[in-house]
């Protein structure tokens, strides 16, 4: 198991380096250069100095290596400094946002909690909805419930989240007035009343994201259950006279959860992608909204960093899924 994990881990490093190169080149070679952001009234020699200070005149490979060093060495050091009050990273050049002229990482750290609360809850809700639907659809295959479940899943992954989101806003926000249409990021949970307000404003983005995820997961749960229901050990368990409840919820469910757990882990990065849409729709001030803001403002360092963080999320959750699968199902390991 250890060699398996190590091998997966080592394979992830070149992948990440390649992705970082792709992201860096794509953003760096693009025509929208920071020079065009400087007002034309600035005299040429000052313009030169500004560009030099931004570090855009260096050759490409120098900038790439510098960016890598900043991302993987200086920024973590800064993180340690901020946590423990040490001074490892003093005087080192950090990744600076073009928009705010301040380091990128604290800006992202500010945004991350909002994204995590909304997305985390949404994913949890999605899994909570999906598992029972999948289990019961498989247990009563071709029943009315199963057909409704199939339709729900089909609609769930066909209707884009931005449309479910707008419909939710129109119905629950505008017509019924149950939930606020915009997410208030400044709200702090201090007592029961503010907690309720937080719940109410989270309800719509969480439901939108959760339902979209529930659709896919419920399908996987169903097919995995169906596969296991046909196995011999299920017949044995029934023949031994076990109750239907034990057979389904203990024997079948545990075995069918193995592939579903990996699917759940694999789905986490894509939900961050989905968050870009919901955050813009509901005005959640998270990293998805930060990305759109940075793209609109031509803020290359911010865009590069955020895109790379998304890539790291994808690669690491793929890794987690692989290792989990190996851990749960010994047949998968090659060692």
């Amino acid at each position: 198991m250890l060699t398996y994990t190590l091998r997966r881990l080592l394979l992830a490093i070149p992948t990440l380096l390649l992705i970082s190169l792709v992201i860096f080149l794509l953003v760096d070679l693009a025509p929208g250069s920071p020079a065009s952001e400087i007002p034309l009234t600035v005299p040429p020699e000052v313009r030169e100095k500004i560009l030099e200070a931004l570090g855009v005149n260096e050759p490409l490979h120098v900038r790439y290596l510098l960016w890598l060093k900043q991302f993987f060495w200086i920024e973590p050091l800064n993180g340690i400094d901020a946590l423990f009050g040490t001074g490892f990273a003093e005087g080192m050049q950090r990744i600076i946002s073009y928009q705010t002229r301040s380091p990128v990482f604290p800006l992202i750290a500010e945004r991350l909690p909002q994204t995590l609360t909304v997305i985390g809850t949404a994913y949890l809700v999605g899994v909570m909805i999906a598992l029972p639907i999948g289990i019961y659809s498989a247990y009563r295959q071709y029943s009315l419930f199963d057909q409704f479940g199939t339709m729900f899943a089909m609609i769930g992954f066909s209707v884009p989240t931005f449309f479910t989101g707008t419909v939710f806003i129109i119905v629950f926000g505008v017509w019924l007035g149950w939930f606020p249409t915009k997410y208030d990021t400044t709200l702090e949970v201090t007592d029961w009343a503010s907690f309720l307000r937080q719940l109410r404003q989270m309800a719509m983005p969480v439901m939108v994201l959760g339902l979209a995820n529930a659709a896919a997961i419920s399908r996987y749960m169903r097919s995995s259950m169906l596969e296991n229901m046909k196995q011999d050990y299920v017949r044995t368990a029934r023949a031994k006279g076990m109750s239907e409840r034990t057979v389904v919820l203990k024997h079948v469910l545990r075995n069918s959860l193995i592939p579903v757990v990996t699917i759940i882990a694999l789905g986490i990065p894509s939900i961050f992608g989905g968050a870009i849409i919901t955050e813009n729709l509901f005005g959640v001030n998270g990293i998805g909204a930060a990305l759109i803001g940075a793209i609109r403002g031509n803020d290359l360092p911010m865009v590069q960093t955020l895109a790379f963080i998304f890539a790291i999320l994808i690669v690491s959750f793929n890794l987690i899924a692989d290792v989990l699968y190996g851990l749960l199902d010994p047949r998968i390991r090659y060692d």
Partner: protein, 302 residues
């Protein structure tokens, strides 16, 4: 098998696929809905022509509710929504279709190369894995933002946006097709008829084109159908975030984006394009489902 059955004219493969396809209620429903949508988008403009209004006239009829003159009402600039829905639909469907073609072309090419030539397998599959790990929506947004103006200068804003988005979506969604094709080719390569072809000295190019490609058509068809749905969604996401098509050359996603600011007063402006996207994707997904069942010879007998 009895004699009478042997005497019957054997069913052609296409007919068998069609017969199986019709068994799938969802797929037939999807085909009907998609047919209606395509007819609405392609034939609609012949049946319904929006009046040519001057700016001053258009401003007088802005934000009108549905009426005989404007069946779906007008938008904030007095443009006929029905007319806009039809032209937007043309672009949306075209984007989905062309992006799918590009993705399938790349996917099949890479899949065949990786499956047939052992030396290419490792590198090409690593490339596929890397593409699968790219954060697609952020990258697409960045690509559109960075290259839109440059391309617009060369081929005009409309063609520029179309080419850029179609190519960007196509170039980032070929991976599933490549994986499917590679798997199929790996299995097909070991079959006797391929061995026979090789033993009479057929070059790899001919073996691939004559013997292998025709046999991977069915999984590729399914992947292609689902690819259309995905491409339409991706395009509408870009347009929805305001980084897709320009407002005077709208897609359904762009119409939805434009309607968002007036959502509280005129919700129908968001509902119509959203419904069109959802119905298209839903029906395409159902068709893909039906095709998968129909094209699988193991399932066909049942």
């Amino acid at each position: 098998m009895t004699d009478t059955a042997a005497l019957d004219k054997p069913e052609s493969q296409l007919a068998a696929v069609w017969r199986q396809f019709r068994q799938h209620k969802g797929a037939v429903f999807g085909l009907c809905v998609l047919g209606l949508l395509v007819a609405f988008v392609l034939l609609g403009p012949y049946l319904w022509q929006a009046e040519e209004l001057k700016v001053s006239e258009a401003l007088k009829v802005k934000n009108k509710p549905p009426s005989l003159r404007f069946p779906l009402g007008t938008d904030q600039l007095g443009r006929d929504m029905l007319d806009r829905m039809m032209s937007a639909g043309q672009v949306s469907l075209a984007v989905g279709f062309v992006a799918m073609l590009i993705a399938i072309f790349f996917g099949t090419f890479i899949g065949v190369m990786a499956g047939y030539f052992k030396r290419l397998d490792g590198p090409l599959m690593r490339l596929t894995d890397m593409f699968l790990a790219l954060p697609l929506i952020p990258l697409l947004l960045v690509m559109v933002m960075l290259f839109r103006d440059r391309l617009a200068k060369v081929v005009g804003p409309e063609m520029g946006a179309f080419l850029l988005i179609v190519f960007a979506i196509g170039a980032t969604s070929w991976m599933h097709a490549a994986r499917i094709v590679r798997g199929e080719v790996l299995a097909l390569k070991e079959r006797e008829y391929v061995l026979a072809a090789r033993s009479i000295g057929a070059p790899p190019r001919r073996i691939i084109l004559r013997h292998i490609l025709p046999n991977v058509v069915s999984p590729v068809m399914v992947a292609a159908t689902l690819g259309i749905a995905e491409a339409i969604i991706t395009e509408s996401v870009l347009s929805f975030l305001g980084l897709g098509f320009p407002p005077d050359f709208p897609t359904w996603g762009r119409l939805l984006h434009d309607g968002l600011s007036y959502m509280q007063l005129y919700p129908e402006r968001v509902i119509w394009p959203g419904l069109a996207i959802s119905l298209t994707v839903l029906s395409v997904n159902y068709i893909g489902d039906g095709l998968r069942d129909a094209l699988d010879p193991k399932a066909r007998g049942r």
